[in-house]
Symmetry: C2
Subunit: 309 residues, 2 copies
């Protein structure tokens, strides 16, 4: 984690921590927003991707990296690879939105299209690996990624001493488990509360059951949180998380709009999940110093979730 | 100006200065964004309103303040008055959008409705003054307001030494003339370039002609810039501005969307006018340290200008 922080320091933004009177009043206590929406590539994902890419030996690195995530991780990996001047291969379904394709391309990523199924994505990635010898970089179930994401939490504690509780969203668990490890390392009495969409509640159910129960093609507006926990992230979260708070689609949309309108910053639905979770918990937060990790700010500006039609 | 800075310091935010690799690449030099969209009330207007309200003697203050601006100045005045615990009367046309009404009401402003004409607004404000003895606080043609707005520029130079040129939008000229005076006081060799919508080009024409030529009911998306220069702001700008750059509605919309999508912050069309002006001037900016004042972030999130219909 410390090594990751040092490794990515020349490349990643030390994102600011925002405060807002409106937010304090709404949540009923002092609230600090860690703005990973201002991170390079528009999301915390760059931290993990950058750590993974710069962890590779020169020999491995020169063959490049590959992923079949077409979301923020794909973009982040392309950007990190460009910084190391190595190829990034991103496997994408042929129906991926233009915005995602151009985000990857803008950062120099090489796109290979495939059928829009998980099986096709995995087999296409295997094929790219066979042809190029590139390293597969999993979007979250990889300790290099987790260590990279942990640097957001490390920074947060440096910038904002004495946080009593941190809210973060949970999807595949990269940010969640990274934040758990950061808390454990530097502020062990700081509680970690995860926000998760009701409609993609695999972390809630898995942590309750003590085994991974993957979500089955969940439909939530929080597109970054449709993935399910991996072995590694589940393992970390089992030992470190006190609570998962489920929030409805309506709560996500309202929280997102509220941050846009009051704080004047752009956050994506996944970030709003953590905000909505904090709003849900407001009755238990009085007098505590509350941190919220705003995970990213990549949204389709042509279609906002509070706009009908 | 210095007195204003001291007077408002306990109340106003010292807004951050943002930088962005994307913005630097697009403008072709090092660019610094002074984020008045993060100011209280969502715009620089709070600075002037706060300075005016806290400049009043106790005897005058207790009778309250009044304005017939229903935009950011109305909101800012209500907020400043609440901080001094005095009444703020805001005269508004009966067809003012709900969002503007509730912004004023949220800050404790007392709304008096009138017919939607300038004559009705002025006569209604006169009536409020006759009944209450409240002080009329003009949105820009008032040296207390200009001095308050100047504090944004003072801060900008403190936060970002050696700016070679500052871009600001011009409407009634409060921010523009305040920034001109701030430059003159602390960085006299720093050029001030004003951005103005082609469709509301009164400052461009007035400064060229050497006399005030008001705009006639201009139609621009930059709702904060539909007003025309006043005597005081014209006087200051005549002596201090090197250039007014006109930008089209299309350029405003593109600049606004570009900042949203790349910087992940919410700016209103008036702010985008200054950004669009800087983009226009990019060929002349290489190697210079460029500041842009992002004047505000109050937008109707239900209808974004790049969305048709």
């Amino acid at each position: 984690m410390r090594a990751a922080a040092k490794r990515i320091e020349p490349y990643a933004h030390r994102t600011p921590v925002f405060t807002s009177g409106s937010v304090d009043r709404q949540i009923g206590t002092r609230v600090f927003l860690k703005c990973e929406n201002f991170q390079k590539g528009g999301a915390f994902k760059f931290r993990g991707a950058c750590n993974a890419v710069f962890s590779l030996s020169d020999a491995m690195a020169q063959r490049g990296v590959v992923t079949h995530s077409s979301g923020n991780h794909g973009t982040a990996l392309a950007l990190a690879a460009r910084l190391r001047d190595i190829p990034a291969y991103v496997v994408m379904p042929s129906d991926a939105p233009d915005a995602k394709q151009s985000a990857v391309r803008d950062f120099g990523g090489r796109i290979t299209f495939c059928e829009p199924t998980l099986a096709a994505r995995e087999s296409t990635a295997e094929q790219v690996i066979a042809e190029t010898g590139a390293q597969l970089i999993h979007p979250y179930d990889d300790y290099r990624i987790v260590a990279g994401q942990a640097t957001a939490g490390l920074e947060f504690h440096e910038q904002t001493p004495d946080l009593d509780v941190v809210f973060a969203p949970v999807g595949g668990g990269g940010l969640a488990s990274g934040t758990a490890l950061a808390n454990a390392a530097v502020k062990p009495d700081c509680q970690l509360v995860l926000g998760e969409p009701e409609r993609a509640d695999d972390a809630y159910r898995s942590l309750k059951a003590g085994r991974i129960i993957p979500a089955d093609n969940p439909k939530t507006i929080a597109d970054g949180l449709r993935t399910s926990l991996g072995q590694r992230t589940f393992h970390v979260l089992r030992h470190h998380v006190s609570e998962v708070v489920l929030v409805s689609e309506q709560e996500i949309i309202e929280a997102m709009r509220w941050i846009w309108s009051r704080v004047k910053i752009i956050i994506e639905p996944s970030s709003a999940v953590a905000v909505a979770a904090a709003i849900r918990c407001r009755d238990h937060l009085a007098g505590r110093r509350v941190g919220i990790i705003l995970s990213g700010g990549n949204v389709d500006l042509d279609r906002l979730p509070w706009q009908s039609g």
